[in-house]
C-alpha cells in the first residue's frame, strides 16, 4: 500500500473513533480539527450534512456569513499552497510574498471571528455569532490591498521565465483523462473541466452571487498554479459581493435533539471536493459517519499524468493537492 494512502486512512479514523463518544454538536469541532490549515470547510460540510439529515433550513444571513468565511479560508489556503510551490521552486521571494498576503487574511479572520485558522464559527443550524459591520468594512479595505498583491503574484507566475521553465508541460493531465477520473479541484479546472460544487448552490449563498468557476486549458502544473491564484482573486470578489448583498435577520435555526435520517454533503475546498456522509436514527449520537477528502480522490490520478519525472513529483503533488502532511488528520 502506498505510504501516504496509509497515513490518510489512519488519520481519518481518529475522527471516526471520536464519533463514538461525542454527540453531533461536539463532532463539528472534531471535524474542524481534522484539517489543520482550513478546517472551516470541514465544519461547513459537517453542519450541512447534519442540517440536511434533520431537514432544517438555516437562515439566509447565516448562509452569507458562512460564504464570507469560507472564501476567506479558501483564499488563505490557496496562498499557502502557492507559497509551498514557490518554495519547492526555490523562488523564495515569491514564496514570502504569498506568506505575507496570507498573514493579512489571517488577521482579517482574527478580527472578524476571534480565531485565525480554526474558526469555531459554524454550528449546526447556523453560525455562532454575527459579523460586526464596521469591522467588515475595514476588512474589505484590507482585502483590496491583498487583491492588488494577488494580481502582482499572478503576473509573476504568468510571466516569469524561471517559473515557466519549471512548470510548463510538467505533469500534463489531458481533458479526457480528467473527465473520466475522480480528480477534482485545480487538477480538473486546470485541464479545462469546469466542475465546482459551489455552482450547485447546495451550501452557502453562491446561487445569488453569479458564481462561475475559473478554468485553464493547459493541464500542466503552470495551469494549476494559475487556477489557484485566479481563485484567490475570484474569492475576493465573491466576498465583496456577499458583503454588499448580506440580508438582515437571525443567524441560527433550532436543531432537533437527535438526528434522524442520512445526508451526503460535498464541499469545494482548495484541493477539490470533500465528502461527508452521516446517518442517524433519532439519537444525538450518529450511527454512521464517512469522510472522503479531496487528497484521497486526487491520489488515483498519478498514473494518468504525462511527463512525470522524479524531480517534478513534488511539484505535481503540490499542484494537484495530494499532500497528506497538510491535510487529513
Amino acid at each position: 500500500m502506498n505510504k501516504s494512502m496509509f497515513e490518510t486512512t489512519e488519520y481519518t479514523s481518529r475522527f471516526l473513533q471520536l464519533s463514538e463518544v461525542k454527540d453531533y454538536r461536539q463532532l463539528v469541532y472534531a471535524a474542524e480539527r481534522m484539517y489543520g490549515t482550513g478546517g472551516f470547510g470541514n465544519s461547513v460540510a459537517m453542519c450541512t450534512a447534519l442540517e440536511g439529515a434533520a431537514e432544517v433550513v438555516i437562515p439566509e444571513k447565516a448562509q452569507y456569513i458562512r460564504t464570507i468565511l469560507m472564501e476567506l479560508s479558501m483564499m488563505q489556503e490557496n496562498l499557502l499552497r502557492l507559497a509551498a510551490i514557490a518554495e519547492t521552486l526555490n523562488f523564495d521571494s515569491l514564496s514570502m510574498m504569498c506568506w505575507t498576503e496570507r498573514e493579512k487574511i489571517l488577521e482579517i479572520l482574527d478580527d472578524l471571528t476571534g480565531n485565525r485558522m480554526i474558526l469555531s464559527m459554524c454550528v449546526p443550524g447556523g453560525v455562532r455569532k454575527s459579523l460586526d459591520p464596521e469591522i467588515l468594512e475595514e476588512s474589505l479595505d484590507e482585502l483590496n490591498v491583498v487583491m492588488q498583491k494577488a494580481e502582482t503574484i499572478k503576473g509573476i507566475i504568468a510571466e516569469d521565465s524561471m517559473v515557466k521553465r519549471r512548470l510548463r508541460g510538467v505533469g500534463v493531465l489531458a481533458k479526457e483523462a480528467a473527465q473520466g477520473s475522480s480528480v477534482t479541484g485545480p487538477g480538473a479546472k486546470g485541464s479545462g473541466v469546469d466542475i465546482d460544487r459551489r455552482m450547485l448552490g447546495e451550501y452557502g449563498a453562491y446561487r445569488n452571487l453569479d458564481f462561475v468557476p475559473v478554468t485553464e486549458t493547459g493541464g500542466d502544473c503552470l495551469a494549476r498554479c494559475m487556477v489557484k491564484i485566479r481563485e484567490v482573486i475570484q474569492s475576493g470578489e465573491l466576498i465583496r459581493k456577499a458583503v454588499e448583498n448580506m440580508p438582515e435577520g437571525s443567524i441560527r435555526s433550532e436543531m432537533p435533539a437527535g438526528i434522524n435520517g442520512e445526508w451526503i454533503a460535498k464541499i469545494e475546498q482548495p484541493d477539490g471536493v470533500d465528502t461527508f456522509y452521516i446517518s442517524g436514527s433519532g439519537s444525538a449520537f450518529l450511527d454512521e459517519i464517512g469522510v472522503r477528502t479531496a487528497g484521497e480522490s486526487n491520489q488515483k490520478i498519478m498514473d494518468r499524468l504525462e511527463n512525470v519525472t522524479l524531480e517534478n513529483e513534488a511539484l505535481i503533488r503540490l499542484t494537484l493537492g495530494i499532500d497528506s502532511c497538510l491535510k487529513e488528520r
Binding site: 469541532y29 472534531a30 521571494s93 478580527d111 476571534g114 460586526d132 469591522i135
Partner: protein, 170 residues
C-alpha cells in the same frame, strides 16, 4: 529593466515593516473580536453540570460531590458552547488572555453549592469518567516508566561511584 525590478523590490523589502509581531517581546495584541477566556461566576453557578455535558473537549468539569467547578485551560477551545448552554449565565467570555500554565492542571473554583435545590435538573447523570478531580489526575507517565527512569538514575549513580573509585590515586 531586470535590475530596476530587483532594485525596486529590494528597496520595498528593506524599508517595509514586518508583517508579524514578535511575541513575547513585542507584547500581546488582542484582535478586535478576540474570544479571550472563560470566566466563571462562582456565586451564580448551581452545579447543574450542563456545561460539562456540552463541552466538546471535556475541559470544564462541574463536580457536585465536592461542590466545585474546574476548568482545564489547556484543553479549552474557547468555542463558547458552555457559555450558550449555562441556564444561570454563570459563564462568560472576557476579552483578556489567561495564559494556560502547563504546571497547573486545572483551575478550581468553589461554587456556592446550592446542590439539590434544582429539581428540574435532577436525574441528569454525568458519565463517571467525566468527573475526575485534580488530585486523582493520572500522571503523564505510567508507573512502569517511572520505575524505569528511577532504575536509570540509580545505575548512573553507581557508575559515578565506580568511576570515582577507579580515578582515585593509589
Amino acid at each position: 529593466m531586470g535590475v530596476m525590478k530587483i532594485g525596486k523590490s529590494l528597496m520595498n523589502s528593506l524599508f517595509a515593516e514586518p508583517e508579524t509581531s514578535k511575541y513575547p517581546e513585542g507584547g500581546l495584541k488582542l484582535s478586535k473580536a478576540s474570544r479571550g477566556s472563560i470566566v466563571i461566576d462562582e456565586e451564580a453557578c448551581t452545579l447543574c453540570r450542563l456545561c460539562g455535558r456540552r463541552c466538546p473537549s471535556g475541559a470544564i468539569k462541574p463536580d457536585r460531590s465536592q461542590s466545585r467547578i474546574m476548568i482545564d485551560r489547556m484543553k479549552c477551545l474557547v468555542c463558547g458552547e458552555c457559555v450558550e448552554e449555562c441556564p444561570e449565565h454563570a459563564l462568560s467570555m472576557a476579552r483578556e488572555y489567561v495564559s494556560p500554565d502547563p504546571s497547573v492542571l486545572v483551575d478550581v473554583y468553589r461554587a456556592s453549592a446550592r446542590v439539590g435545590s434544582d429539581s428540574v435538573l435532577q436525574g441528569i447523570e454525568m458519565p463517571p469518567e467525566e468527573i475526575v478531580s485534580s488530585e486523582e489526575k493520572i500522571p503523564a507517565v505510567s508507573t512502569k516508566e517511572v520505575q524505569r527512569i528511577k532504575r536509570k538514575k540509580k545505575n548512573k549513580k553507581k557508575k559515578k561511584k565506580r568511576n570515582k573509585k577507579r580515578n582515585k590515586p593509589n
